[in-house]
Amino acid sequence: MSVEMAELQKKNGIPPIQFGEEVTGAETLLRCLILEEVEYIFGYPGGAVLPIYDSLYGSYFKHILTRHEQGAIHAADGYARATGKPGVCIATSGPGATNLVTGIATAQMDSVPLVCITGNVAQSLIGTDAFQEANITGITIPITKHSYFVRDIRDLPRIVKEAFHIATTGRPGPVLIDIPKDVANEKAPFTYPDKVEIRGYRASLVPSDKEVQEFVKAVSEAKRPVILAGGGIIAAQAEKELRDFAEKTRIPVINTFMGLGGFPGTHELSLAMPGMHGNYTANQALLNADCVIGLGARFDDRITMGRTKEFAPKARIVHVDIDPAELGKNVDTAVTVAGDVKSTLAKAIPLAKACESEAWISQLKEWKEQYPYKYKKDGDVLKPQAVIELLYNSTDGEAIVTTDVGQHQMWTAQYYKFKHPRSFISSGGLGTMGFGFPAAIGAQIAHPDRTVISVVGDGGFQMTNQELAIVSQYNIPVKVAIVNNQCLGMVRQWQELFYDNRYSQIDLTCSPDFVKLAEAYGVKGLRAHTPEEAEAVWAEALAHDGPVVVDFRVAQEENVYPMVASGNTLDQMELGDD
């Protein structure tokens, strides 16, 4: 055993792991997880993983028993997004494994490091359509960064080591390890490799000096530059470098949805979010810029609207990304850097100088003042935007906020000004309803002392609200804010605008009484109908030392604006009726 490993065990107060001792595959797995410094596992048992759960019995690990595998993987995902450390989940074979599929795809789309462990039937039964058999490695090939089917216990330590390495390096992503039951039961002397060697795998990409010089040159020539900062800033922990670079070069920063918090939304150079529901200024900046600098952003069609020729029509596009396949994938670029944003910016900062951008900055400032996000206040009616403003003001932007998917998600992205990286957690790429609440549980477990708010719609909450059981069981003090418009709001909005008010299948008036539902799980439940009630109830929720569900009854007809309808370009932006 290496010295570092021995120290690690001492530090974590784990009984020393004997190398060379004959142990089962299940025990091998758990020892490997300890050596990877895993602290929490989110999971759900079943026949094929019984050996693993038996080894967990009385062990050092903190295992969170969710009420659905989807809850487990989204919680692991929230944990990973809140910490940058890999999330770990376990599910049994067949239905347990397939219940992970949505969560795996969610993590893949947003580049979240996860290690998903599934059991499978014994190898002698593989391919026989045995009870609870599913070819989960096959099913998940297109939605994992990599996957393993373990055939031999002697490969298991190497596989686990590789899985963590692959999940967390380069462009992060989910890795699946499928372990058949016979391998979990088999015995072998325990070993763990010191190093990972994967031929052909590019774990990190430090750009060459020449690439960085070209990058700096292209940027310095711009008069109307804008940075488009994506989730890559957060994944690479490059927020300080981004800030230094933007301030030194005097370049305004647009945060993509995934990049919110990667640059403070309160900064004078911040232009917040662009795209379909982005703000006027950010979109105008893209339309008028002479240089768009994509940093760890993938030019998603929620920003380009899929009309890539009309996107940023006056700009040279400069693109830095750790994944070379992103360069030139969606938009034509003038300069590309295949590299980690953090090391690229660190190399660029000493070379960079201020752009002649002051006239541009004051133009943007004018737009910002003229066209802020706005909504019409309406007496006693509680507006959903007002709920988000309340959450922001009451926490001074310091909370970790997770959202589900729909209108409330967009309002949160608009009205909560995220200051810190990893404080906004939301399913951006896949748009997974049911994600927000379990993700908040993972984030709160990672940060027990911070305020964690889960903003959910009345629709999406009902996809995973059974996880109220675990916030109750483990006293996880998540504050759930249901933006309850009694319908599938985002669908309603599209039906109103594009389907002639034909509201097909969006009525959620027959939902449970969320206050009683919370109480049924032993969780505090509160309700507000008016702005005044909202303030009082929310203060009570924040003051409560434990989980709370707050049912904010909001106006149903509210739409998310600004909006660029699909098919349109960024200059065809609806600002809303007020």
């Binding site: 096959g138 090939i141 297109p142 990599h146 031929r199 052909g200 070379p324 396949a325 030139g328 994938k329």
Partner: protein, 168 residues
């Protein structure tokens, strides 16, 4: 749209072919032909894939292929001179009395008759796609009962240093 021949060096792991094939489907590319076999090094396989696309698409495809963990290198052979061969077996309606006549057709192609039956025979031919197509046209008049052909195996010509080929 241009035809490209891509050489992909991969770990010889179960499921690698599925991963590569899935990537093509997932990213909207078509596979015209694919061959897989052993290489000079144990534990590695080489895939030769023919596909169509413009430069941008092929570039993207190569980068996406390289993202697969089991892929070690990706080379676009079409960017430089390369050698490519296919093998075909063609079963033709013919009686033994027509053997000489058929030999006359087959020989200029350096093909061979490798099986003779009472009413059919099998021609074996190797070469580039065009050559095989040309022989097929000639044999068609006899009646082709069955045809099986491999995709291309291909290799860059030695005048091109390996590092100069477009490799991701």
């Amino acid at each position: 749209m241009q035809q490209h021949t891509i050489s992909v060096l991969v770990n010889d792991q179960p499921g690698v072919l599925t991963r590569v094939a899935t990537l093509f489907g997932q990213r909207g590319f078509n596979i015209d032909s694919i061959t897989v076999g052993g290489t000079e090094e144990q534990g590695l396989s080489r895939m030769i894939i023919s596909t169509g696309g413009d430069d941008r698409q092929i570039n993207q495809l190569m980068k996406q292929l390289h993202k697969l963990i089991d892929v070690i290198s990706v080379t676009n052979l079409s960017e430089n001179p390369f050698v490519s061969r296919e093998l075909a077996l063609i079963k033709v309606t013919a009686s033994p009395s027509q053997l000489a006549e058929l030999n006359g057709i087959v020989e200029p192609f350096r093909a061979a008759i490798v099986d003779v039956g009472p009413s059919s025979l099998i021609v074996q031919v190797t070469g580039d796609t065009e050559k095989i197509d040309a022989l097929l046209v000639l044999l068609q008049s006899y009646g082709v009962i069955e045809l099986t052909r491999t995709g291309s195996v291909a290799m860059a010509r030695s005048i091109v240093p390996v590092t100069a080929a477009a490799t991701v």
